[in-house]
Amino acid sequence: MTRIRTLLLTLLVATSMTPDFTAAQEVSEQRIVSGLGKLVGAAPLIDIAILRQEAIDSGGVAMASLPNWGKIAKLPQMVVEIDFENDSVMIKPESYRSLGLIADALHHPNLWAYKFLIVGHSSSTGSDKHNLELSEKRAVAIGEILSTTFAVGPERLYAVGVGEYFPIDGTKGDAASNRRVQLVNLGIFTAP
């Protein structure tokens, strides 16, 4: 049985390789807007299936050293904590505010033209397959909440789960900080 209670929404700032998890607790709309807004250059094309498979096949290699994830790792990102019910996609009401802050940020003119990738992670407690599925369901749930309740255009949001395949450097796989979700700025949204 997995005990994935917390997902951290990792919106890592710019190209910083060491996410500031101590600062993850207190997040403001302002921080999300400025942290995610620092996109320079064109963003890569995204294929969710390729990213998911690359994560599964990564064999413990760091995200930044993989061909496709390496490009993602260089994009503007940040950290917000979201608490889920144990082994469930249900977000605890205590974390509604964090979702609202993200929504406020995505509705700001500084960010409203950008696409975002929601990446669900898990700790290594429980089976690989279960963790992969749960992390994906949670990433999708966040996308659904943002695009329905908070009216963020669904065409701006992508979601993928990568389970326990990318533990944060220097932590044990079962560390709580590995239960996180990353939000990555994918670049300017252009209508198809």
Partner: protein, 139 residues
């Protein structure tokens, strides 16, 4: 419950038409913080396993309206209303501020920088546009 939301929406459209310069709107964050505070216990009790997405929490709370706390019943309506108000205020911004942008910030490229330009030029920006920026929660 669907009807209730439709009524709320109808009311909102009315509000938007009659008063583009209404008082403050709530941020999404503050709106759902109120929901979590006033309805958190009821959500955990009656809506276990459900999420905010696709109106599931609002529907669940409304379905259980007889059992949930009166404070929560009131809050659901307020939250739904304030979320749509914020949405409409933000949608109105581009149209309402078009003239001010053309006059004061035409050389500025990018929506974010244009907004920053309007905020800086607050004293010279028209009342309606200033109000739209405030209602959108961008000040």
């Amino acid at each position: 419950m669907k009807t209730r939301r439709t009524i709320a929406a109808t009311l909102l459209i009315g509000l938007a038409l009659t008063g583009a310069t209404r008082a403050e709107t709530l941020s999404y964050a503050d709106a759902v913080t109120n929901l979590a505070q006033d309805c958190g216990a009821d959500i955990k009790k009656f809506c276990h396993g459900l999420n905010l997405g696709n109106g599931r929490i609002a529907d669940c709370l409304q379905k259980n309206a007889a059992k949930i706390s009166p404070v929560c019943v009131g809050t659901i309506t307020t939250v739904l209303t304030s979320i749509s108000q914020r949405e409409q205020a933000q949608a109105a911004y581009v149209g309402v501020c078009k003239h001010d942008i053309a006059q004061l910030c035409s050389s500025v490229k990018g929506d974010g920088y244009r907004l920053a330009c309007l905020i800086k030029a607050e004293r010279r920006v028209g009342k309606a546009c200033n109000q739209a920026i405030t209602d959108a929660g961008w000040r």
